[in-house]
Amino acid sequence: MRARDEQEFVEFATAAADRLFRGAYALCGDRQTAEDAVQAALTSACVSWRRVRGADSPEAYVRRMVINQLLGWRRRKSWRLESLRGNVPDAGRESHEDRVADSDLVWRALAGLPAQQRAVMVLRYYEDLSEAEIAEVLGIMPGTVKSQASAAMAHLRRDLDTEMYVRGREAR
């Protein structure tokens, strides 16, 4: 790698690392795993920097590497985010706390989704990507994106309804 390429990579990594980390964290919900995935993807990007630099958007290219890394780890380890599940907020709080509690509730429900469904939800609603872009990033058909999003929504509705029901019973 020439000094100029190296300098370019350093500038890219410094500028994009935070955004890549936040995206990875949204996808896996675990700080350490997100950090590892970003480090691994940036290392691979550095090894093949000329190819990455030649892409339409180097950041989108590396983001895809991060996502593939995370989905690959998930396939191998088949881990879920159990750590996020132990902290159920109390029912009957005030308005602001209710909003925070609702956000926690949805976040935990997201953690219970299968890896690809969660990836679709995060890319759609956090990264604001279109269905075609999500299909490209995940290497799946646009029809699969639609079906995964629909299944994820159904899963979330069911989980949230159950959680609200349990909380309602506990409050009584």
Partner: protein, 74 residues
């Protein structure tokens, strides 16, 4: 609020509240250099191995070549 909006809000709230770790770029560069060296060594080893197998096969081919029949002269 729709479920889509709740999802967007939940993800945004949780990701915005997390502080990204500092990026250790020199470490990344060192790792990348090491990986490139390892790859180059692997390519050389593969080439040497393929060459050695080719030579072995050609030597074995020469060994098994049948000699022309010896004709007794009167």
């Amino acid at each position: 609020m729709s479920l889509e909006e709740r999802v967007a809000k939940a993800v945004r709230t949780h990701t915005d509240s997390v502080t990204p770790p500092p990026t250790n770029v020199p470490l990344l560069l060192r790792r990348a250099r090491r990986r490139r060296r390892t790859r180059a060594a692997a390519v050389i080893c593969s080439a040497v191995a393929v060459g050695a197998v080719a030579v072995a096969i050609s030597i074995q081919g020469q060994d098994t070549r049948t000699d022309p029949p010896v004709v007794d002269r009167p």
